[in-house]
């Protein structure tokens, strides 16, 4: 069953989770075990640092794929 969508991605981590916002870019998240996207789906990760999309245009949501650069140029 689909939950009510969250407006923003939510980050989960068992330890210390750090989030840094990059200007005109993604959120850099350290220590995350998983990120829940705006549709409610949970995406696990094993990467020590992940870049979470904030422009919503990535083709690999919730992860950044660099598309914000193309979007910005338009």
């Amino acid at each position: 069953m689909r939950l009510v969508p969250d407006p923003e991605p939510v980050v989960f981590g068992s330890g210390d989770v750090q989030v840094v916002a990059c200007p005109d870019g993604p959120l850099l998240v350290r220590g995350a075990d998983a990120v829940r996207d705006s549709g409610g789906e949970l995406h696990p990760t094993t990467r020590p640092v992940v870049a979470v999309c904030t422009c919503d245009k990535s083709q690999r949501l919730p992860w950044c794929d660099g598309t914000h650069k193309v979007v910005r140029r338009r």
């Binding site: 990059c22 200007p23 870019g25 993604p26 850099l28 094993t46 990467r47 020590p48 640092v49 992940v50 870049a51 083709q59 690999r60 992860w63 950044c64 794929d65 660099g66 598309t67 650069k69 193309v70 140029r73």
Partner: protein
Amino acid sequence: MQLPRARGPISAGVLAALAGPPYDLAPIARRVGDLPDGTDLLADDDLHLALWSLYELHYRGFDRVDPALEWDPELLRLRRAMEEVFEAELRRRSAPHVERTLAADGDLATRLFGLAEGFEGPSVARYVHRDARREQLLELMVQRSIYHLKESDPSSWVIPRITGAPKAALVELQYDEYGAGRPERLHATMFGDALEGCGLRREYGAYVDVVPGYVLASNNAMSLFGLNRRLQGASMGHLGAFEATSSLPCKKFAAGIRRLGLPDVVAEYFDEHVEADAVHEQLAFRDICVGLVDSGQADEADVVLGATVCLMMDTLVGERLLEAWQAGRSALRADLGAAAPAHTAPPGAGDRPTTAAVAS
């Protein structure tokens, strides 16, 4: 790795010296100091194979070559002479971009991203996405194998030379490049898997003899910056520009590879880089490059030089590659069948490297 085949008098002299004493490098040094007019210093086969071979002593070395030659004063003196020629040309050709970026408005991270995004280069990725034939994709993999089988290694030279937050960020980036504790996720290993998926050889250095001088030159730029501590800012600028021009092209490469119906393992290497490099570009430009400049560990001009050289060499490689393909030629020096080792022993006294062993 076996010693490569010489491509001219300079590389012949260097390879003969590596094969064993006695050797006399004086004539080679004179040649390096008096290169003929019109020598393409960013692509010359002979010069860049010679320099690449000397740099390799600091990475994996060669079969049956004395590892102590890594610190041989005569070879280092010769390497220095070649580096001076190469570095001067890199500085000369990149100067307009460097000056423009240094004079531009905005903070350093913004200017570095702007430099990377605004650099007009040919799109090899677009070509691979839509048009490349299977054999062209294999040629691209072969050209890239020179770097990607030691992916990230040139940046690791900088780690012991810096301190504080930029060091932590560089190690964080490299940890991801090196598989984050999982050997099968080492990017160089994943590239080897991708080569195998293409039916190509994965051994380090297997294709050195068939790649053109411009590919060796673009590799040499990374080693030049990595091995010279005075150029650590340039090394990190290069890393940042490399990462910042990776995610979007890798997406196109992966799509082109799937269009050609190659095994998933080939596209997966590029998928990994879409995601990883979206992280790495932020780490490299913001935490490492800006961090080094802000903490007085690098000059802004060096960082911008390194970034520009990365973009410039990438453009040069892309132009030559597409030029060959669009003219219906191979972008390699010989067909892939000729890339198998033709000799089992390194060139010795009775078997000096020849200059015409590989058809150009």
